[in-house]
């Protein structure tokens, strides 16, 4: 075990904790979050980013259901005090809610009343830039709360008091490394990763000892010399090849394998890094004990379209030709639903790929290996402009899908009718910590296009909530959102409901999980890009979400404003708040 003792900094050096309720955190008993609880999470709590290790975003709770959701009302809300993209779910452990926000705050609140128990505010470096000012959620483990930070650190807080237990550096923010992901906690470890693919980084995943913060292992997503897969890179391109880790991995507790999605290759133009570029735009299976790569599947090789495959695949059982398949299912940014088979030993087998939005860059998918072939006319390069669909934000970006084992449906927050047009320029020398994309920023900022079939005189379907039957491979229903981005993480519940926000009209909505009928909506303070959660305290079910527009949702909105007639794209106010809803009179 390699210990980075020098990286463990003085307690409280990296932030400030305020207690709003005197001693309340210190006296109440705290129910430690164990591996056993995380493996079989109780329905009344929401202990992980997606509710379970498999990444379903599903709760068994059903007191709020498709019959009574029309009576859902807000019971409290709480301002976070910061702006930008509020993407983290409110996590709940026995009546205490933990929420992370942009600027790396963590709030601990009474989940029923909204009373603040403590607040951790990270002191971020003055020279830190934030391309993605957000955080996707804390991890609850043992008696601590963990958060990855935008200055590429990880901090552990005492769950009762918010006091810093340890604070370690996992990357160099001055060199373009940063972390926005929620953290996976399992097997005595906290699993983090780094972003920075637009800055010329080499991505990696790091496991930290949950008690001490000491590094247990570190695995690069781009193999170095002598490692398997290194020959998919030429020259020194691997040193700055991207492969960011934007999102938490999902976890198979029975095999001890983490399944994590990787970002695109960097710089963006494929001819600057010839080769397949393993393990970019892939799912990688990592042994949680050693960090060794035990299997992988690359969704597409030598990416040209900024189609990071950031989301981890969901772990689910599906029926295929009468046989149960232990599957990995992923709605790719490249516009295909990828169905893969996982094995306890690690190797990942391709099963099938079905397009869920229009992809005009892939000409075919090899039915044995899943390897796509490309249309050169749809593949940009250095001094070569190309138009392609879906757009650089893909069919689905980071907002997570959901899976409901009752309906058997897989739900996707998709974007349709969007394409991109860009080309690269010869690379300049890398300036550490500055953009290293190889596509002029003015070009990227004017790259969004509608599909030629779109008539902007009419409302344009852009966002689309889709439901797919994974056993039949058919779409069960869809609901389109016109003239608006749709950056809504999904929550599925046993009450036959799908909750999501994501649109520029500030709405939080509930849909019938079987039919797609919209059953309820409520306008919040800002646009919702937070992952919703649900929990139960004192026999009452609640639904919680953060509202706070920003990051890529705001970017897309800013570009759509110039593409649609005046008055069709509203301004979305910034400023974050936590919202908690329950049935009227409960």
């Amino acid at each position: 075990m390699r210990v980075l003792s020098t990286a463990i900094m003085a307690l409280a050096a990296g932030g400030l904790v305020t207690s709003a309720v005197a001693d309340s955190g210190g006296k109440a008993p705290y129910n430690p979050v164990t591996d056993a609880r995380l493996k079989n999470p109780e329905a009344k709590n929401w202990l992980t980013w997606r509710g379970n290790y498999e990444g379903w975003g599903h709760s068994k709770l059903k007191k709020i259901n498709s019959d009574n959701v029309k009576d859902l009302v807000p019971v409290w809300s709480y301002s976070t005090g910061v702006s930008e993209g509020h993407q983290a779910p409110p996590m709940v452990n026995d009546g205490i809610m933990y929420v992370s926000t942009p600027q790396n705050q963590v709030l601990a609140l009474d989940a029923v009343s909204g009373t603040e128990i403590w607040r951790y505010v990270r002191k971020l470096p003055g020279d830190l830039k934030q391309l993605h000012p957000t955080n996707r959620g804390v991890a609850l483990y043992g008696d601590k709360v963990y958060m990855a930070t935008v200055d590429a650190g990880v901090v552990a807080l005492d769950a009762k008091t918010g006091k810093v237990v340890w604070d370690v550096k996992a990357g160099d923010y001055k060199d373009g490394y940063y972390s926005t992901l929620s953290l996976l906690a399992a097997n005595g470890k906290i699993i983090t990763g780094v972003s920075g693919g637009e800055y010329g980084i080499r991505g990696y995943v790091t496991a930290l000892d949950a008690e001490t913060g000491a590094e247990v292992w570190k695995t690069f997503t781009i193999p170095g010399p002598g490692e398997e897969g290194h020959d998919t890179w030429k020259g020194d391109s691997w040193k700055v090849g991207g492969g960011s880790i934007w999102m938490q991995g999902n976890y198979d507790a029975s095999s001890g394998l983490i399944y994590i999605g990787t970002g695109n290759g960097g710089p963006w133009m494929p001819d600057t890094r010839p080769g397949d570029n393993l393990y970019t735009t892939s799912v990688v299976a990592l042994d949680i004990t050693t960090g060794k790569i035990k299997g992988h599947h690359q969704y597409h090789w030598n990416d040209a379209w900024d189609w990071d495959e950031v989301s981890a695949p969901l772990l689910m059982d599906i029926n295929r030709d009468g046989k149960k398949v232990k599957a990995l299912v992923h709605a790719g940014r490249n516009g295909y639903i990828w169905t893969l088979e996982r094995t306890a030993e690690g190797p990942i087998k391709f099963v099938k790929a079905d397009p869920y939005v229009r992809n005009d860059a892939f000409t075919k998918i090899d039915q044995k290996t899943g390897r796509p072939s490309y249309d050169p006319a749809k593949t940009p390069g250095v001094n070569k402009k190309a138009t392609f669909c879906p757009s650089l934000w893909g069919g689905k970006d980071w907002p997570p899908e959901a899976y409901n084992p009752d309906t058997g449906l897989f739900y996707i927050p998709a974007h349709i009718n969007l394409c991109s047009e860009y080309g690269g320029v010869p690379l300049e020398e890398r300036d550490p910590g500055e953009l290293y994309i190889g596509v002029p920023i003015d070009v990227i900022l004017s790259s969004l296009r509608f599909h030629p079939s779109v008539d902007t005189k009419k409302p344009v379907p852009i966002g689309q909530l889709q439901a797919w039957d994974m056993n039949t491979g058919k779409m069960a229903w869809s609901h389109s959102f016109n003239d608006t981005p749709f950056w809504g993480p999904l929550l599925s519940t046993g009450g036959n409901l799908i909750f999501t926000g994501g649109t520029s009209d500030r709405m939080f909505r509930a849909f019938n999980a079987k039919t797609g009928d919209k059953l309820w909506e409520y306008p919040t303070n800002s646009g919702i890009t937070g992952a919703p959660s649900t929990f139960e305290v004192g026999g009452v079910q609640y639904v919680a979400v953060q509202s706070g527009w920003g990051v890529d949702a705001e970017r897309m909105q800013g570009l759509l404003k110039d593409m649609l007639p005046k008055g069709r794209v509203p301004k979305v106010p910034q400023g974050g708040a936590i919202w908690v809803f329950a049935l009227k009179g409960k």
């Binding site: 702006s83 930008e84 003055g126 020279d127 830190l128 001055k174 500055e434 003015d442 900022l445 970017r555």
Partner: protein, 211 residues
């Protein structure tokens, strides 16, 4: 032109005690219209500078030249004739002529220099220019990304991160997007050799917001 001397020591901005640059600054009358203080520095930063900060980490200082870091004139000290009113802004850093170091170890020193028609500038902006040359902080006041994009028709500096646009003709005021604070500038003059120099430090602390 009416010339005034400021020697104000302290002021309060947004409830935070800030220290006005201790150097005396000569500015045009128009600058007084927009009110105090144009030249401010966070107290801790100013004190730190006065003590042991290495010259390559110091914020831009009066007398600094401006070194271009990219493009045709990479490595050269800025002269007005290197820029045209139709060209895109150029990336640069302040250069300490006394110690002969580029102040690049502090990324908040990163500048965008450009040339515009002085007749189109707001008067208070014109006062910070020399022969139409302006130096803006390249650090967005929202989340501190490096500003790279330029909207030529509007003369807006545009941050790619979250699409804030700053008007170059009006002192970097926010025209759209999430930033709340105008872009700091470095007031410019010419030295005896025809090089563009900083007449003072930044008009406000460069960097992003914390909320």
């Amino acid at each position: 032109m009416l010339v005034v001397k400021w020697t104000v020591e302290k002021s309060s901005v947004s409830g935070k005690q800030l220290l006005v640059d201790r150097r005396t600054l000569i500015v045009g009358a128009a600058a007084t219209v927009v009110g105090l203080p144009h030249v401010v520095r966070a107290e801790a930063e100013a004190e730190a500078e006065a003590e042991a900060v290495a010259p390559n980490k110091l914020f831009a200082q009066a007398g600094d030249r401006i070194q271009i870091i990219k493009g045709e004139f990479k490595g050269k000290m800025l002269r007005p004739e290197m820029l045209s009113e139709t060209a895109k802004p150029i990336e640069a850093f302040p250069f300490d002529p006394k110690n002969e170091v580029l102040r690049r170890k502090n990324r908040q020193n990163r500048l965008l220099v450009l040339r515009l028609n002085p007749d189109e500038m707001e008067a208070s902006t014109r006062e910070l220019s020399v022969e139409g040359v302006l130096a803006y902080s390249a650090i967005c006041t929202h989340r501190a990304c490096t500003i790279k994009a330029w909207k030529v028709e509007e003369r807006h500096l545009r941050c790619h991160c979250h699409l804030t646009e700053f008007a170059a003709l009006t002192g970097g005021t926010v025209m759209t997007g999430p930033a709340q604070r105008q872009l700091p500038m470095v007031p410019l003059g010419l030295d005896g050799d025809g090089f563009v120099i900083a007449k003072a430090g930044f008009t406000d602390t460069p960097g992003g917001a914390t909320t």
